[in-house]
Symmetry: C4
Subunit: 272 residues, 4 copies
């Protein structure tokens, strides 16, 4: 009987912490999110020198409070789940641990506290809550489009990477190791800054030949930025099309995937 | 009888000020637009130090003239409308008030005059005039495409925001609070400048690891700029398609996808 | 008889200068293009201080030679055309005149010579030659797509312009006329530099609030760059589609514009 | 008999070096790729001043080892192929030679060693290995889309080039050869930096007129970046469509536009 109560108690806790279909579960999720955001804001403000000097003491207390709460949450998660090891080694389990470890480490190692910024990773939980809302379709749509264009974008990025290595090396020779082009890695860094049209200007060509090559690189960057856009757009158009069409089933052979304008099944010829 | 004349008089004024289907109404709208633009130009020129010193007196007189005219317009709007409170609390009502308040405030509060730049908001009236012209379809088209892609772009922007917070925090650790990466908010600001490919160069990584992370961020920014473009383009293609093809169903064969101008079903020839 | 010879002579000259369907006409066009490019290269090199000091004399002679040749060409064009006034007032006629005037002006006005850069406008002639080649279809395609999206892009650019005026003005207030935000026009210039993701970095926000507003602007710029791309892409997809489809004529009513999958004419119901 | 063994031996070597359908061939390809990457990393590290001073000796030995191995590979390639001249004059043959020549040249010419960066070109071999994997379709798709949009992008790039030359020249006049606009080529370089939205900020307009023209350029750049994207996206959409829909015509009704996997005509049900 006692065992039973315990199980019920654990089950209830599990529902609150891991699920969001109960009122208590929703409140827990939102409260957790607010806590995460607050803890990140504190870490951010503490990193500003002037605030650190004035409110350092307060921030210190707040950080330990958040750490305590997150530790409590972590323990509750461990207790309420059937297979704790699975949670500990899961993606969110590792992030949850990374969010509390730095505080404890800072007792032994000086400066470990600055790793608290890793708490920002906990923000990813927002997507779990998002998933429960009407954004699910949109996330799903974006995921489909991005994942189906991943291969093409990989090939494209490889081409860009080679262009950047080769043109960066050439610039190193042209600018003769001067004007910020101190080494090949630096020159490649400049090439990336240029081809992605970021253009910090911390390194910029000075020699006429260097400027000419840089101009060509900019034109290349300007032209090829079209490629990833084209890839993603194309996949999205396809995703929309296949979402619209093809949900009709043929009465003859039971196959799906017919065009909107189809009169006969394309597989068996039956009138749709 | 007197009441009648008054009503007619108010009606006429209402037509001139709020509508644009009469000649007087059109003249009023254009004159107002010219006044708005002139008042903004004066505020702009007055903000240039050298002009302020030379023509400050003239600008002062002009600004008060514009304020007087806009106040008159505001009062006329109040008089000529049936429900003045509805206008006062409307979007354009608030903007119209914000355009005249700073001048009066400047009598009591020093520097309040600089809020006159808010007059720029009155420029939004241009869209009301535009709406009456043949640009209506285009505005409508853009609104449809943008509003239907808003949800997807929100999800996307959230992903970008998280990337920026996490990578910005990492850069703060890597560059060790130096080279402009003075605090986490500053580092996040840098991450936004980088991922959007703006790249001011006021903050730029100096350490090799920092440059490497920055390079990755630029590639990410380069790749994901494709996503919002893909979303908007996709919605536009859809909007064009659904504008062309009506959602009407053929009474003969039940097929959809007919052009807007179709008289007969293109599949079976039945009259639609 | 003499009149006749003269007419023939003028006709031949006209064919060579204005048309390109004869061998002589083609040679003339290419030779002219080479001359234009050479004259521009000379103007460019002459603008470099060190070259000007060394080869200034040579450049001077070359520039006068080009001016002489272009003047000769201009006179020949006047002679060989039936309605010289029409040519003089045409787009290319004005450009041709602008290409030779600065040299003559420089005799009377010091520095007028620098206007020689206007010769670059003559490069536009390249498109006339291009038109005769197989690039015609491509130019036509691009023109159609761009011109049909012009209205939408105008509306869009107006929205961007307002955003830039309003946010630029706000930044002037926030940065308090300091850090390069010296006046409202300067702040608007900065806003344009930011929203178009150019990001020179000559003006950059320094205050936290300024950086926050700048971040929002960058996100806006990042998001809305999708809109013109979407517009143009959409028009191109449409142009391609209408090029492919709809060239079939209905045997019943003679109307065109049928979908590829149409079985019956959508206007009269006749079987296609 | 001896001849036969030799041929077999040469054939086997050829299979290993030039093909990748055997285990030995695959190992050779991967090993070669690793060697290439290692040799590039060494050249890169050697270009960093501090590393060069500390490990210069080690890098020197490694570079000669790589040169020796690449020379060996080059000779093996010459031996194992039937027509060595064809290989020597082929694209990859030239690159392979360029990868070993600088080392030998450095014995006679000081500084020739820096040309070793050309080894980066050997990375292009990665695509040969890629081709054998499942990335083939993606590469093929991208190649089709890019090559079919090449003509349109050429026309577009020419328009951009003219805009840049003309507006660059105008800026040279406006900024009067000062503020970094030292010559027309420099001003054109600035115009390219601006229109491609790279925006280094090493040259930036200072005069009000200059800033105004720069603003217009940025808007132009912002607007026309849509064109190449539109072109590529359009071609990709077309490529996908024509990949899906065969160009087969139905023998029953003569209609086109059937899916690749269609067995029956979707309009009349006839067997395709």
């Amino acid at each position: 009987m006692e065992q039973d109560t315990k199980v019920t108690w654990r089950n209830k806790l599990h529902n609150i912490i891991y699920e969001s279909n109960t009122v208590a579960g929703k409140i827990f999720d939102v409260a957790l999110l607010v806590l995460i955001i607050l803890s990140i804001v504190v870490v951010m403000l503490d990193s500003i020198q002037s605030y650190h000097q004035r409110y350092g003491e307060l921030f210190h207390i707040l950080e330990w409070s958040f750490t305590f709460l997150f530790t409590l949450e972590y323990l509750l998660r461990l207790i309420s789940i059937r297979k704790p090891l699975l949670y500990v080694t899961s993606f969110f389990g590792i992030i949850d641990l990374l969010a509390i470890l730095p505080s404890y480490l800072s007792v032994f190692v000086v400066g470990a506290q600055s790793l608290l910024v890793l708490r920002a990773l906990r923000l990813l939980r927002i997507f779990r809550i998002f998933k429960l809302t009407h954004f699910l379709t949109e996330i799903d749509f974006l995921q489909t489009a991005v994942s189906s264009s991943l291969k093409k974008i990989t090939v494209f990025m490889m081409v860009v990477l080679f262009t950047v290595i080769i043109l960066g090396s050439v610039m190193y020779l042209v600018e003769n190791g001067e004007n910020g082009f101190a080494s090949i890695p630096d020159s490649i860094y400049w090439a990336i800054v240029t081809i992605t049209t970021v253009g910090y200007g911390d390194i910029a060509p000075v020699t006429p030949v260097g400027k000419f090559i840089a101009s060509i690189m900019m034109f290349i960057g300007y032209g090829i930025i079209a490629v990833p856009t084209g890839i993603v757009t194309n996949e999205m158009v396809n995703a929309t099309r296949s979402r619209k069409h093809g949900h009709e089933t043929c009465p003859g052979c039971g196959k799906e995937g017919h065009d909107r304008d189809a009169v006969h099944c394309k597989y068996c010829g039956t009138l749709l």
